[in-house]
């Protein structure tokens, strides 16, 4: 790093065991966050290392390229070591700060966190309703809703404003009920194969479940099989977005506010 500190710095991807990155090969052949051209390398302290690259700018824009680079670097690192991933957008001033303000003072906590994730990966599952299928089954299976719908069919929206709101409320309650039921089934099937589960916010009304699972690497094939089974059983009714293995982002509880 040059002495200029007005802009730029060192981007941090995460913390790993030092040993797999030694042997004179501490660079990862993968594009860096920022301009993509900086070398991705390690900064070491005792048996830990931070994966970093020189960062050319003041701010870290949340662009597709940058987020993708962050993720790709960690995927590459995961091939060699357990990884304690950093959230996107951490930039230290220089290598010395990475070592002296992060790795050295937080050594115990980082080590403990990394050890607790040994041999484990994160799998991310979103289960979403197929909108058409959901509304069809609600009408077909709820007499109350079907009756109210039929009673206002063909009448003008203005004349039936309050009936429509009432109908919509009943549908919303029905969606909730069905979503809870499906989410429970999915969790019952998958939780026995996961070390820990974290539920994330359901961002849309069509989301049944948005969960992160911490899974032993050796259990991933079994976990896959269960997800396949759930998917096959609900074909056309639900959509599954199944992503992983990820560095265990959701299971890192390291939040630091460093004193300057």
């Amino acid at each position: 790093m040059s002495g200029a500190q007005a802009s730029g710095g060192v981007y941090i991807y995460g913390v790993v065991h030092r040993e797999p990155f030694q042997d004179g090969d501490n660079s990862l052949d993968v594009a860096a966050v920022g301009d993509g051209g900086s070398a991705v390398r390690t900064v070491e302290y005792r048996d830990l290392a931070a994966i970093v690259s020189d960062f050319p700018a003041d701010r870290c824009d949340v662009t597709r390229e940058n987020v993708l680079a962050h993720q790709r670097v960690l995927e590459r690192a995961m091939e060699r070591s357990d990884v304690l991933p950093a959230a996107f957008g951490l930039v230290a001033e220089n290598d010395a700060d990475v070592r002296e303000k992060l790795l050295r003072p937080e050594f115990e906590d980082l080590h403990r966190a990394l050890d607790s994730l040994r041999g484990r990966v994160e799998l991310e599952l979103k289960v979403l309703w197929n909108r058409e299928a959901l509304f069809s089954e609600i009408v077909e299976e709820s007499d109350e809703i079907a009756t109210l719908r039929d009673s206002i069919a063909g009448l003008s929206p203005e004349a039936t404003y309050y009936e429509r709101i009432n109908l919509g409320e009943m549908v919303a309650a029905e969606i909730d009920r069905r979503s809870d039921q499906v989410a429970e089934e999915v969790l019952d099937a998958l939780q026995p194969l996961s070390v820990e589960t974290r539920l994330n916010e359901n961002l849309t009304d069509m989301t049944v479940l948005n969960a992160s699972f911490l899974v032993e690497k050796k259990d991933v094939p079994d976990f896959d099989a269960r997800v396949q089974e759930l998917g096959a059983r609900s074909l056309g009714r639900l959509n599954f977005h199944y992503v992983g293995p990820l560095p265990p982002y959701s299971f890192v509880d390291v939040s630091l506010s460093l004193e300057e």
Binding site: T63, R164, G168
Partner: protein, 156 residues
């Protein structure tokens, strides 16, 4: 990046486990919010965040949503002709505007034409027409540079 069509499986397809970098939209919130957090070193540009992370949070307990649901329930009767009417021909049917809109609305990261083609098993021409209509109505937004269709309402 490699295009992936399988995050929402086509009829008869298995659920595929996608790598994080090929399914970025699904893991974006995790990458931004989770992991080691160091307040003093976070240099995320807030302007950038608006570009890709604002997912449409549907406020369910609102009159507007209830009216939408009522509408959706009313439509199912009309939109679901008895099985067999299509003569078993499921191929290359034109998807409804609503379905295309719903698909795009679920993807704050945007969707590509090729992806939509694969998902709906529809012709490029039909889809382009639908997308043009949706864009004209201001319901979806075109990102010419990245060849993406995005939910409307996201800040440029």
């Amino acid at each position: 990046m490699t295009m992936s069509y399988s995050r929402a499986p086509a009829r008869g397809a298995q659920v595929q486990r996608m790598g994080g970098s090929s399914s970025l939209a699904d893991v974006l919130n995790i990458i931004l919010d989770k992991g080691i957090v160091i307040d003093a070193w976070a240099r995320i540009s807030v302007i950038g965040i608006e570009l890709i992370t604002i997912e449409a949070r549907v406020v369910v307990a609102s009159v507007e949503t209830y009216l939408q649901y009522a509408e959706a329930i009313g439509l199912t009767a009309l939109a679901a002709p008895p099985q067999g009417d299509q003569g078993g021909q499921q191929r290359k049917m034109q998807p409804s505007e609503d379905r295309v809109l719903a698909y795009i609305s679920d993807r704050s990261e945007g969707a590509r034409l090729g992806e939509l083609e694969a998902y709906f098993d529809a012709s490029r021409e039909d889809l382009s027409n639908i997308l043009n209509q949706l864009a004209d109505q201001g319901k979806v937004r075109r990102d010419e540079e990245h060849k993406l269709y995005l939910p409307a309402g996201q800040k440029q």
